[in-house]
């Protein structure tokens, strides 16, 4: 059975020309780059709602808006996949942030309301930024850009090829994670618990799981970085080949 599909015109990847796609994507993500939309919505809501409630509701609203814009492009299944990863990241960040605030009160602000609002904003920002950024980088086709550049001459060609490489590396991060997830599942079928856990070497029961989680997060970070970097030399070689083929083919290059 086929999954429900949104109309093609709602899909950001289908927008042409590329600069219109870029403009629409930047417009959708504007509330994430600037505080102005949030401040505007909060002040508008402040007129009919209590001030703190307005500030509380503005970030969930912005997050829902961004999800709604990404949903037609991603489809339900993909959006839920991205949200699962985003929730894990948001919960880890806010919980560790809250724990640090409790443990090191001298470093952080003493206003608990402002602190809680800040943590809540971080939480919703992560939930919005994760699917938005993946939608953004995957909406552009590197091969289309490279095809266009093979027919281009002049100073923008080199810059364009560098941009193609950077875009492809960003896209590659999204491909590395499912590969590592498969490896992780084979290693730890329960995902959040180690497969072999019968002898914790005298570690206190309270510290066991957090220690394992910290160790696992560091492994994931290194593995993601290394596996993302791994194909870069081959990608660079391909880009250089395109660049050189253009140089040699066209004697009257600008």
């Amino acid at each position: 059975m086929r999954a429900f599909e949104f109309p093609a015109f709602l899909k950001l990847q289908n927008l042409r020309p590329w600069w219109l796609k870029m403009a629409v994507l930047v417009l959708i993500g504007y509330p994430l780059f600037s505080n102005r939309p949030a401040a505007f919505i909060a002040s508008a809501m402040g007129q009919c709602l209590p001030e703190t409630l307005g500030a509380l509701l503005v970030w969930p609203l912005i997050t829902f808006f961004i999800w709604a814009c990404c949903l037609p492009s991603l489809g339900t299944a993909k959006l839920l996949d991205y949200l699962a990863a985003a929730y894990a990241m948001a919960v880890t960040t806010t919980l560790s942030g809250a724990a640090l605030r409790g443990l090191l009160p001298a470093i952080f602000l003493s206003d608990p309301v402002a602190d809680n609002l800040r943590l809540m904003r971080v939480y919703f920002n992560i939930l919005a930024v994760f699917p938005y950024s993946l939608t953004f980088v995957n909406s552009f086709s590197v091969s289309d850009l490279m095809a266009r550049l093979t027919k281009t001459r002049g100073k923008f060609r080199g810059a364009g090829l560098h941009l193609a490489l950077a875009l492809r590396i960003c896209q590659h991060v999204g491909e590395v994670i499912p590969k590592l997830l498969l490896v992780w599942r084979e290693e730890n079928p329960e995902l959040l618990l180690p497969r072999c856990r019968d002898d914790w070497q005298g570690i206190s029961p309270l510290a066991r799981w957090p220690m394992w989680v910290v160790l696992s997060i560091s492994q994931w970070i290194f593995a993601c970085i290394i596996l993302t970097f791994e194909p870069i030399p081959v990608m660079v070689n391909e880009i250089e080949q395109i660049d050189e083929s253009g140089d040699s083919d066209d004697p009257d290059k600008v």
């Binding site: 991603l74 019968d198 250089e240 080949q241 083929s245």
Partner: protein, 420 residues
């Protein structure tokens, strides 16, 4: 096949690391040795960043064929390669190239990281053909290793295309590969059979539709067991054509792919039912760590199993190297050591079955034979069965049962069992 007659330069190496060194030297493309661990990776990568060498003017099939495919799907890879020669290529030209190399155009929009090893190699061939007019030659690492022997002709077709354009072809292989006919005579020692019960009751795997960034239709694969008995004898061999679904079957047995309906369960003496898997691209399973770092991390919550795994790792390495094993870190941080360590970690847990997907990839024929023989010896001592997924004909003499996978309909695979 006499490759000298075809003017293909074949270079054979004893280890994967030597092959990678030669590839880097010949092409100027940096290729990391992932089993050496994180610090070595970053050191080599920063050296590459500060390099002064120019790009390679040759088409390449990298030591890990997946790394040479820098774009997300076959359509983008092939159109990009064709466009280098200003052909304004589209889906039709890309499909034509895929068909020329025995692949179905259905895989055009399939993410590259979900293709099987053989499909990856054939896609590399199609890409190299697309690049032929723009490059000065071809450097290919292990170009037929993952291919069913019936598909070796596609490699010869690619070589013919390059020869017709008067371009040089270099094949870098490991000692004992099909292209290195000089040392294929040695036989592997045999091991006693171990009985294992496989309960395969029409398991169905569903692959969901992909809508983003490129649409790819949903598909499914149904396996049917056509033998009268459930009993197979370890070590058993899983064979079949490229893309038939061998690796998917292995993942299904290992429980890392969800089964839509039916069941695929293993039972061996002692009622154990855990299945562990060594992937085709086993190096990824080290999670970018060296073998010793991997063992430390995997058993951070189980000292007893850590000691057991370290003991098994040392025993495997010493058995493979005989008396030639030194304390040299290059031996302990090699691809062979990486595979031995992954196997040791799995055997320490005493699973019902350990599946080795193309265990010989990246190893010379001798090393592959020794690794699998000693794995079977140690596994059978622990009442653990061993399954080998491979195209290499040498395993036929070694295995005790053969599970042959055959596509009988577009989404249906039949598994037949024969005692060897």
């Amino acid at each position: 096949m006499n490759y000298a007659e075809k003017k293909i330069n074949v270079f054979a190496f004893d280890t994967y690391e030597e092959l990678v060194d030669h590839f880097v030297q010949a092409t100027g493309i940096f290729f990391p040795k992932m089993a050496a661990g994180r610090s070595e990776f970053f050191r080599a990568f920063s050296q590459w960043l500060n390099r002064s060498t120019q790009s390679s003017s040759r088409a390449v099939i990298t030591p890990d064929p997946a790394q040479g495919l820098a774009l997300p799907n076959a359509l983008q890879i092939l159109t990009s390669a064709l466009n280098q020669s200003r052909k304004n290529a589209g889906t039709a030209e890309a499909s034509e190239l895929l068909e020329k190399y025995g692949l179905t155009p259905k895989i055009l929009t399939q993410p590259v990281n979900t293709l099987s090893g053989g499909e990856l190699l054939l896609l590399n061939f199609a890409k190299a053909e697309a690049q032929c007019s723009q490059v000065k030659g071809l450097a290919a690492c292990n170009p037929v290793f993952w291919l069913n022997p019936a598909r070796h002709k596609f490699w010869l077709n690619l070589c013919d295309s390059y020869k017709a354009a008067d371009k040089n072809v270099e094949a870098l292989v490991l000692r004992g590969d099909h292209l290195d006919s000089s040392s294929r005579s040695d036989k592997f020692p045999s091991v006693d059979a171990l009985s294992v019960n496989l309960l395969i009751d029409s398991p169905l795997v569903n692959f969901p539709e992909i809508q983003f960034p490129v649409f790819h239709a949903a598909s499914k694969l149904l396996y049917s067991w056509v033998s009268e008995t459930d009993e197979v004898f370890s070590p058993f061999l899983i064979t079949g054509d490229n893309g038939v679904g061998k690796s998917i079957f292995a993942r299904l047995l290992a429980g890392i792919l969800p089964i839509g309906s039916g069941r695929a369960v293993i039972m061996n003496p002692g009622d154990k039912c855990t299945v562990r898997l060594l992937f085709q691209e086993a190096i990824t399973q080290l999670f970018a760590m060296s073998p010793s770092e991997y063992l430390e991390k995997t058993f951070s919550a189980s000292r007893t199993l850590f000691n057991e795994a370290v003991g098994l790792f040392r025993e495997l390495m010493q058995s493979i190297y005989s008396d030639k094993l030194s304390g040299d870190t290059r031996n302990w941080n090699s691809l062979l050591a990486g595979k031995a360590c992954l196997i040791a970690a799995r055997l320490a847990e005493k699973p019902a079955l350990i599946l080795l997907d193309e265990p010989g990839w990246g190893l010379s024929r001798h090393d592959a034979g020794m690794l699998v023989f000693h794995t079977c010896r140690l596994a059978h001592q622990r009442e653990t069965g061993v399954g080998i997924i491979s195209h290499q004909p040498e395993w036929h003499d070694f295995a005790r049962s053969n599970l042959k996978l055959k596509k009988i309909a577009p989404e249906q695979v039949e598994i037949s069992h024969a005692r060897l």
